[in-house]
Structure formats: C-alpha cells, structure tokens
C-alpha cells in the first residue's frame, strides 16, 4: 500500500492524500472525537509532510507509516493545546489506562490500537466479522450463533479461527507488530 517515495509537488501530495487520507481521518476522529479537529489534524499532517518531505527515507518505512508517525504528533499537539484527551477506548482499555500511567501519549497509543482493530474488523469478510462480534463482543454461545446462522457449531469455531488469522493479517498491513505490542 505504501508508495516508495514522497513527492513534494501537488500531484505527489494528491497521490498520498488519495491513498491514506481516509484512513488518517478515521484515526484522527477516533482519537479526538471531533470531526473538525480531525480535519485540522489531517491537514496539518500533510503540511508537515510537505515541509519535511526531503527527510522521508523510503529505506526506513513506507509513506503510510511516515504519515501516521506525523499524525500521532499532531493529534497529541492538538489534544494538549485544547486540553482534551484522546477518546477512551473500551472499558477494558480505560481500566488499563487508569491502572498505569494515563498520559496523553498512552491514551493516544490505546486509541491508535483501538482504531487499528476496528479498521481490521472492517477489512475482514462479513462472515468472519460476524462470528467475532457475536461470540466475543456479545458473548453469545457458539451453539446459539450456529443456529442463527444455520451452520454447524464446528463451523462457527473454524470461522473464528480464520477470522483471527485475517485480523492478524489486516493489522500487519497497517503496520502493527506484536513484537512491540507489549
């Protein structure tokens, strides 16, 4: 997905925007919980990318990873300037954040991970997403889900397996690396 270089002319900006802006906006909305601030964050990110485009080194990572690294800083700047916190994730994430050091950066990291998982869930197939939502998030028994979907219970289990594999792949495509996930 990431292109190898970052062109500083208008067509280069347009190409990078076309490839990544939707995803960046989704993350910014998830983090700041405000569409106006998210728009501001994405615009600022592209301006900074243009400003420092000559420092982009394709040997070190993709344009996408570079843009997201800038976006994280911009979101932190905006959150600090406006004394807002990134939007809390689930109860579990909130608990983790309050158990440990709940700095803006920590919460932003949680927001980024939460957004990546939500984005990964959007990217996998409908059948796979459905079984994860029903069995994990809604805590419904496999037998009940199987009856509702008209498939054997064993098929629900195998779909859960393939769903997790697809999620892992989607997360890796977004730059997630479990060696740094803690």
């Amino acid at each position: 997905m990431g292109s190898a270089r970052f062109d500083l002319d208008e067509s280069g900006i347009r190409a990078a925007y076309s490839a990544h802006a939707r995803e960046m906006f989704g993350f910014a909305v998830r983090s700041l919980n405000d569409h106006g601030l998210a728009e501001e964050a994405v615009q600022e990110t592209f301006v900074r990318a243009w400003r420092f485009g000559d420092r982009f080194d394709p040997q070190l990572g993709t344009v996408r990873a570079w843009l997201f690294a800038i976006l994280r800083h911009v979101v932190i700047d905006i959150a600090r300037a406006r004394a807002i916190w990134p939007e809390p994730t689930s109860d579990e994430a909130m608990q983790r954040a309050t158990d440990g050091v709940a700095s803006a950066e920590d919460r932003l990291e949680h927001a980024l991970l939460a957004w990546q998982i939500e984005e990964a869930l959007r990217r996998i197939g409908d059948d796979h997403r459905r079984v994860v939502i029903e069995t994990y998030y809604r805590r419904r028994p496999y037998a009940e889900v199987a009856t509702e979907l008209g498939i054997p219970e064993g098929t629900v289990k195998s779909r859960v397996y393939y769903a997790l594999r697809a999620l892992r792949l989607a997360l890796e495509e977004m730059g997630w690396d479990d060696s740094s996930a803690g």
């Binding site: 906006f25 615009q43 300037a81 406006r82 939460a114 869930l121 069995t135 496999y142 859960v160 997790l164």
Partner: protein
C-alpha cells in the same frame, strides 16, 4: 483438499485463544499443542490478536468516518500559503546577507523591512505579524489564523542558534502569557505551526523566548478586523 492430521484441532485454536472452549476441549487442544509445533506456532500468532480485541468498540466498526470533500483543498491551500511565506522569508534573508554590513545595521534593515512589508489581509489565509528581533541576524514572522475553537500560528524564523530550545507564547494585554509550545533551533529557515486555546481577540502579542527566559523576538498582534 484432504484434511491433514491435526487440522480439526488447529481450527479450534481461535476459540482456544479467546477462552471460548469448555474445559475438556481446551485440555484436549492444549495437549495437542504440546506435541505439534505448527499448531503451537498458530496459537502464538493468534494469542496477541485475541488479546487486543478488548480495546476495540464493536459499535464503531460500522461505517468509518469519511473525510469532508474540501479537506484536500484545505491541504493544498495551506501548502501554497507556506510556500509563499518561505519565499518571502528567503528573499528577505538574502537581502540582509548580501548587504555585508555590520550586524547591528543589518538588524535595523531587517526590522525595517519587516515593518514595511505589506500586510496580508486577514481571513482564511491568516494575518501576517512582523516580529522584531532583539538579536542580530535573527528574523521571524508569524501568520495568525483565527479559528472558532482556537488561535493557530505559523511561525517562520531564521538565525536562531541550532540545538537550542525556544518557547513560543501569546501574551494578553494584561501581560499574562499562554505558552504555545517549544521548538529547537536549526540551521537555516525554520517553519513551525502551533495552536493555542487563547482566543485570537485576547492575544496582544506573540513572542519567542530563549531558555534563560529572555525574549528573542516579539510582534504585536493587531486588533481583529470586525467581520
């Protein structure tokens, strides 16, 4: 495709790492993992993914937020503005250097140039504020943007000491300062963008301070033009 031995167990690894198997099934699958490196590796791959699921909010998985159509126009317009600011700063910088006059005289010329430089109209493109430097060789200008939710400033400087940390602030007429952030000086021109929650109409001046607190440059912000 012919199922391989252990395939039926491998397909249970997802439910295992989610903690969804009953005790008997979980024990059987774990016993299989003990002797099957392939399935063990599978569990090692899927376990971290299962551990992350709790961070997500399933209600947000529906339609993703779509960026507004005009967002790209905003990006391109801001880049055009920054390009214009850079170009002006470069021209001014060249003028000062090519004079080959004493540093004090150069500073006077620079300050005069900044003071005489035509004002940009306020509005979406922002308002240009000339910065008066207290040190020779230092130049700066700021573009102040008014936003319903904040004030944001584009600051362009040159001549500051590389590696030193500088603080940017807005000052109210009462003398209260609102910090906007810090930056590190570099060789050549430096452009930064900062935000403040202080409304534009309360900001009387913008300034940059050195680590010892001394003011390096400062500029008066004109009263806002009524809409």
């Amino acid at each position: 495709m012919t199922p391989r031995p252990g395939d039926h167990v491998r397909l249970l690894v997802g439910a295992l790492v989610l903690g969804h198997l009953d005790d008997d099934e979980a024990t059987a699958v774990r016993a299989h993992l003990d002797g099957c490196p392939t399935c063990r590796e599978e569990a090692a791959q899927l376990g971290p993914v299962a551990g992350l699921l709790g961070l997500a909010d399933p209600d947000r998985v529906g339609a993703p937020a779509e960026p507004p159509r005009e967002m790209l126009d905003g990006v391109l317009a801001r880049i055009d503005r920054e390009r214009a600011v850079r170009s002006r700063t470069r021209r001014r910088s060249i003028l000062v250097r090519s004079g080959a006059v004493a540093a004090a005289i150069a500073m006077v010329i620079a300050v005069a140039l900044i003071a005489l430089w035509p004002r940009e109209p306020s509005g979406p493109s922002g308002e240009l504020v000339a910065m008066t430097a207290t040190r020779p060789g230092v130049l700066g200008e700021a573009v102040i943007h008014e936003d319903p939710r904040s004030t944001w400033v584009e600051l362009t400087t040159s001549g500051l000491s590389p590696g030193r940390t500088y603080a940017v602030w807005l000052e109210e007429s009462s003398g209260d300062r609102s910090p906007m952030g810090t930056f590190t000086g570099v060789e050549g021109d430096l452009y930064i963008s900062l935000y403040s929650t202080l409304p534009r109409d309360r900001a009387a001046s913008i300034g940059v301070s050195a680590p010892d607190g001394s003011v390096v440059m400062e500029g008066a912000i004109p009263d806002p033009v009524p809409a």
